[in-house]
Symmetry: C2
Subunit: 561 residues, 2 copies
């Protein structure tokens, strides 16, 4: 995997280079961090032609390492104005890896209307996508797959990306070819829209798996990884319950955002949890234990059918059920599933949109619990009405427009669906991550109500998760922090002799690059403000505020800078 | 002048204190900087109850120093998220000074509906303003003056402040009692709105001028100041032409923003200049050489009548004529005057709104030169339609909502009406001032097309202007930088023995406090990005880009930090 493909949109040219040796051990997020640091002026406008949008499989993509098919996409974010990597399962990373593509970089902006990049083994081309412009991800991907064959995998944007909304996602084909996986956070869909690229089509015919340089040792390490995953009790938890299994857990812990983050527990949470989902899937078809990407042996994904027993959406995740459900006091899985389908189709981050609807609940435009209105508001976003355009810019802009001073966001990005007040280690991550409020940037669940030790835990988690994002590993493979195993895998794959410390340093250096990028973009390194209400409003039912000492938080990155 | 009045809105209480001695030589902006630095957490939300809104006359207010009646108002800005001082002529500063009030501080937020603060010699009270809520500044102030007598002076907000728009102003009564002067920049009207205060009513009956401690020396210095002002040739220029006299000058220099800052010169500028104004005033009545505040001996203000020879607006300033005129390719003084009247009435910053309409000109919502549409759009802001709410948040939010990457703003605040590319020293001020893009924060006109020496000039101008803002002096008194004279005046007024360096240090310290506040608010000290288009698009007709060396700019405050 050593091809770096640059798509020069202004000149409509493809430039291919071999990755220089020093990029060898970098993949996914770490590779994106390096390229953005070297090539993008942090002070540019995120929607300007000077931004670059980078697609990078993780280092283990296209190998036999289980759960290694996650894709990283990165750019300067129109939502946070800082560096951004968003990642997703689905099938694209593996396809790119099978074509030997380490990074696909969209540069500049095409002058004409919507275009697509078509990536095949022996050719990469820029072609018109005018016929697909304006369509939702589902219809657009159906048509594009009709044109190129059902075996291709896509990255695409819906109308929200085309309208350059900061809550716009990039949809990635799942194993059934549906655009149900999303690089959701940070508005990367808007960056793709600003470049007038509707889709990237990847046909890996003729491609092949990555060949590890030291096969035996690689095979042994893969076997070990597989055993660890299979034997972890969480594997069966997630396979049988999916992430909706977290609904009762977060509810009991008091970390389930409810009613615009005013409560940490929802009295009607059962309508949103795994039990209800299992019941409905038994009735209607659909699936628990679905694999969103090739090589996944956990299979936390779900396929959800509507009342007519027809496919509606996949996966219906914890974050979506919380942000579009409890946070809006909507207790009904069918409604949330329809909202999810719409968000996937229009290309919208369900976390950002759930938070945005939540703050609208404090205006005349939305009442908590009003299911029809919630659905209608998402349609407004997708069709780009004025209210829709406001909401599509996410929670920060929506609060600006309506003069709301209780803004549930960090660095302009909405707080995710595990409340910081009842999960204080995660709160530290929200406050400090260069990615803005993001639960995938450093998940911490230990000793959730104590302010002690959380800064250290968050830093460790941020370093570990950056590594996972760089290797292409799903968090739910439960290999987090297994640096010894990762080191053996990398060494065997690439024929290197790295020590564990070297591997950790890749991650630390990437984190440093993210921080440096942000500093140059005008986001100071030690400005770690959480929304004030997290410090002043005790959260039902734990009655906790976020009280990790600020001085400690301020020093979180001292050891790596 | 040693009374500090705190209005505790949450508890509906007035707390009065004597200013501590160390605040003695501080007034206006420097006083605001000190109070905000000491009392307001820079990380709060600007519209939260933790913000404080401070009204402070300059140090010379209510004395015989000519042109010393400017009022400073300050808070954390909802537009820039940094520290903000906006100032204005009119009659309020003098009235406050005559009551011995050095600062009036609104704290917290009243729970009930709209209220007013009524300030009299022997009483200060918080009373209902429900009857005036929702009215424009003109009608509200007419009714309030009906209630309290025509002799009172007001600070008030229009519906845009009530709706907490970031482009909302605070209107100040002029010498005719009209709400035609505005603390316009930075959205301080929204802060007042967030506190539910519609107006401050000041009745100075029984008040008296400030009594200088050393009368003879004060009188001598005042006489000297008066002579300097009278003898400056710019005095007669501004008296006879007002600031519209600058229209042909900026046009010729290539610094007149035209068509969304795409040009520096407007082929139909004559319709906006002083000659046209003088002609219309001759026809219809109105006035050149109007004094906006007591004690003004320059009288640059104008009173503009409509076609029916009835009062329409005052003053119709250069910035308004450029931003709502040439920048929108509107060439007709009557239209701009009507737009100005609407902005004054709704309580809107004409600079921010001109810039916002300018970027809308690149969408389907506005066509350059469309006068009726321009008027209608301002009405949308005033009535709070969705489009109006977007525009009312200013140019940054409008660009976010419509996915526009050419954002004519610094620190979220619109570029004023002297183009940075053809006035490079002023461009340095736009880039660096803690106040965001603001021509009144450090005006530099020397050698405008050269990048050399501009950083030093801008710093000097920023220090000098901060001092003027603290003394309450209008820039058009042409005493800028006359530190010797200021020192004598301060010493004579307060019975002090300051040296010139001490006086300059007041200004430097205040500038440092502003920078520090911003740093703590998350705005890094050395992040001085101007919009990229100023560096990449040569501006007609000078064909210049902004090219002052960045390294030099980055070090601008080194000597004072």
């Amino acid at each position: 995997m050593d091809r770096i493909i640059r798509v020069d949109l202004a000149n409509q040219k493809i430039i291919e280079e071999m990755a220089p040796k020093e990029l060898n051990p970098l993949g996914g997020r770490a590779l994106i961090d390096r390229i953005l640091s070297m090539e993008v002026d942090p002070s540019i406008h995120p929607l300007s032609r000077e931004n670059k949008l980078i697609f990078a499989p993780g280092l283990f993509a296209g190998t036999s390492v289980p759960n290694s098919g996650r894709l990283s996409v990165g750019a300067k974010s129109p939502l946070t104005s800082g560096i951004k990597e968003a990642n997703s399962g689905g099938t694209l990373a593996t396809r790119l890896a099978r074509l030997g593509i380490k990074a696909l970089i969209l540069e500049g902006r095409s002058k004409s209307g919507a275009q697509m990049i078509v990536v095949k083994k022996d050719s990469i081309s820029i072609v018109s996508a005018e016929d697909y412009a304006g369509f939702g991800n589902y219809e657009a991907s159906r048509r594009i797959r009709e044109q190129f064959g059902n075996h291709v995998a896509l990255a695409s944007i819906g109308p929200c990306g085309e309208m350059m909304m900061s809550a716009a996602t990039i949809a990635i084909s799942d194993t059934n070819g549906f655009p149900s996986r999303h690089c959701a956070r940070g508005g990367l869909g808007a960056v793709m829209g600003s470049k007038h690229i509707k889709a990237i089509v990847v046909d890996d015919k003729g491609g092949s798996s990555q060949r590890p340089l030291n096969r035996d040792s690689f095979r042994a390490a893969v076997k070990e990884a597989t055993e660890i995953i299979k034997n972890n009790p969480r594997t069966s938890f997630f396979r049988s319950k999916g992430t909706p299994g977290l609904i009762p857990i977060d509810n009991a812990r008091g970390s389930l955002p409810t009613r615009n983050y005013r409560l940490g527990s929802f009295d009607r949470f059962q309508g949103l949890g795994a039990e209800r989902m299992v019941e409905l899937i038994k009735e209607r078809g659909g699936k628990m234990g679905h694999a969103c990407m090739p090589g996944c042996i956990v299979r936390c994904s779900t396929i959800f059918h509507d009342k007519e027993k027809a496919y509606l959406t996949s996966a219906l995740e914890y974050e979506t059920l919380a942000m579009l459900g409890s946070n809006l006091e909507i207790d009904d899985m069918d409604t949330v599933a329809s909202m999810d389908r719409k968000c996937d189709d229009y290309g919208l981050d369900t976390i950002e949109i759930g938070a945005t609807l939540g703050v609208l609940g404090e205006t005349d435009y939305f009442d908590f619990g009003d299911k029809n209105k919630a659905l209608a508001l998402i349609d407004e976003i997708g069709s780009g009405t004025l209210l829709g355009r406001i909401m599509g810019q996410g929670v920060y802009v929506t609060c600006r427009v309506f003069g709301i001073d209780r803004v549930p966001a960090v660095k302009g990005q909405a707080l995710p669906a595990h409340s910081a007040r009842s999960m204080k280690g995660l709160g530290v991550t929200y406050a400090t991550s260069p990615q803005g409020a993001d639960h995938t940037a450093g998940f911490v669940a230990e000793d959730p109500l104590s302010p002690e030790g959380q800064v250290e835990r968050s830093l460790q988690a941020q370093i570990n998760m950056l590594l996972m994002d760089s290797l292409g590993l799903c968090y739910f493979c439960f290999l987090m922090g297994n640096i010894g195993l990762f080191t053996r895998l990398i060494n065997a794959l690439l024929g290197l002799n790295m020590r564990e410390a070297d591997v950790l340093n890749i991650s630390k250096k990437a984190l440093r690059e993210e921080i440096d990028f942000n500093v140059k973009a005008g986001i100071p390194v030690n400005n770690f403000s959480l929304p004030k209400f997290l410090e002043s409003e005790p959260l039902f039912p734990t009655n906790e505020v976020f009280d990790v000492p600020k001085d400690e938080i301020r020093r979180i990155f001292d050891s790596i800078l």
